[in-house]
Amino acid sequence: MQKIDKSKILSTVYKKWEEALENNQEDHPQYESTHRFYTDVMMNLYHIQDGLCAYTEKKILASAYAHTEDNWTGGRYKSNKPKHFGELEHFDSDLKIKQAWLWDNLFMVMNKVNNEKRTSQTDPILKPDHPNYDPYELLDYDYDKHIFFANVKSGKLNQSEIDRINNMIDVLGLNFVKDWRKPYVSKRIKALESGVELDPIEEYITAFEITRRNLNL
């Protein structure tokens, strides 16, 4: 799970509206996919997330659609909604009731992860845009099992933090895509070991990078 910088706002009309609601401490309108800002929020998040699922880093929208800024006019997304495999996700589902459109709480994630995600127990220790979140400090990657787990190498984390991180790995479904991630990362590590150059990495960057560091490649 990469660190996500949500400061790049393309959906300026939505953001102004959201900030006004927050400043006035008003309840947000009900969350629904037909809301006028739904696509704006979605496409802005895809742009920031590079078309990847915020948690698993699986590609859920082609980069070409995620990157283009030509489809934005006057702070609104003006083009057709491209085919994608994601859903708008509320990191803290409790906020969905009164702050359904809170920018800080929204991410694009793959459908299946969202379907399986539990509705409670979210812990900001693994929140991708949290100022203190650093995947390389908190996460380790087991290259045999192809799963993420709490980084205990440095001994900086206490047992409570280790348990919280491992629990959030489950809650966010970071290992849900293990069987897609495994061949992708393995191929890239093999190429690195063999001195073969591949196209730039597009998915599962954190898993690859941690493995590369662990193997001193």
């Binding site: 399986e116 380790d140 087991d142 045999d144 099992k145 799963i147 993420f148 787990f149 709490a150 980084n151 205990v152 190498k153 440095s154 001994g155 280790i162 491992n166 790995i169 489950d170 290992n175 849900f176 895509v177 293990k178 069987d179 897609w180």
Partner: protein, 340 residues
Amino acid sequence: MYPFPQINLSQVQLVEINPDLKLFYFPCDIQLPKFSNSDEKIITSYVDITPLLRIIDFENYDINQIWKIINEAIIEDRELEIKKSLEISKLLRDRKTSKDTIDKATDEFRKWREETPNPIQDLADNYLDKIIGRFNLKVKTELGFERKEDIETIKIQQKNGKEIPFEALSTGTKQVILTALPLYGLKPKDSIILFDEPERSLYPDIQTEIVDFYTSMAENSQFFFATHSPLVAASFEPWEIIELKFDEETGNVEQELYYDTEKGRHIDNYTIYPQYLTYDGILKRVFDMKKEPNSLRMNELVKLATLESQLKHNNLSPEAKKEKFEEIIKLADQLDWDLK
């Protein structure tokens, strides 16, 4: 088996070179036998699709009607055997018969018996016993011919000879027998044979052999198997597979097309080699079960990875190290995980 892109009757009709073409259909839920004494036609359920194509549907068939075909062959064989035996006896009784003549006659008899096996023995040895033998069962081949009941229907017995009533057999055993009998009795040739869920109620190791078993019972015929079993799917080569999936947008069941990166377009031939894969791999690649079976296992794998990393990287006392090591060994065993 031969490539045949779709089960499409309009295409079936194109096969006009063979006026005897038949299309057999074996549903997944063949009904239990009806023990009737009717003299209906042997095949009770058929539809003539075209003058050249007859569908034979085994959704409702009478096991006794099929058995009659096999039974007639058994009786015919028995009569022939008696006739040939009598001829040899006659030669033996005649004092003028030379030893060479007797030897020649007995050799011919032996050769005939070898080349023309008794149908019930053939059915048992070459087909059914190979499967039902796994359940300690066999087809009864020693038929008395003294009472009508002796050859009234197929008899299944334990290997120790104890006869088992058909009703007492397991669902899987019944399915195999009820499917194998018509194939053996009708001896399909140049036919199209459809099977729905041949894996039904069969133990996994038998599922791996069931396709070869059924296909061995027809000559020059094309089989179609519809299956949800990874074990049955493992029987096929990529070009023999048509994968049907729900289209999430339309809700329709459609043939899955694959994207060929080299050709830069979708292709309709299958790209996965089930015969190369483990059963786990088949579940993941063919049946899209790309995830751990449950979060319990995944959570325990995360725990194992954490423990292994702590053992490797943390500065632990010898006692703590031993304790952690034992915990890893126990957990790895529970997860059936090979430690490296």
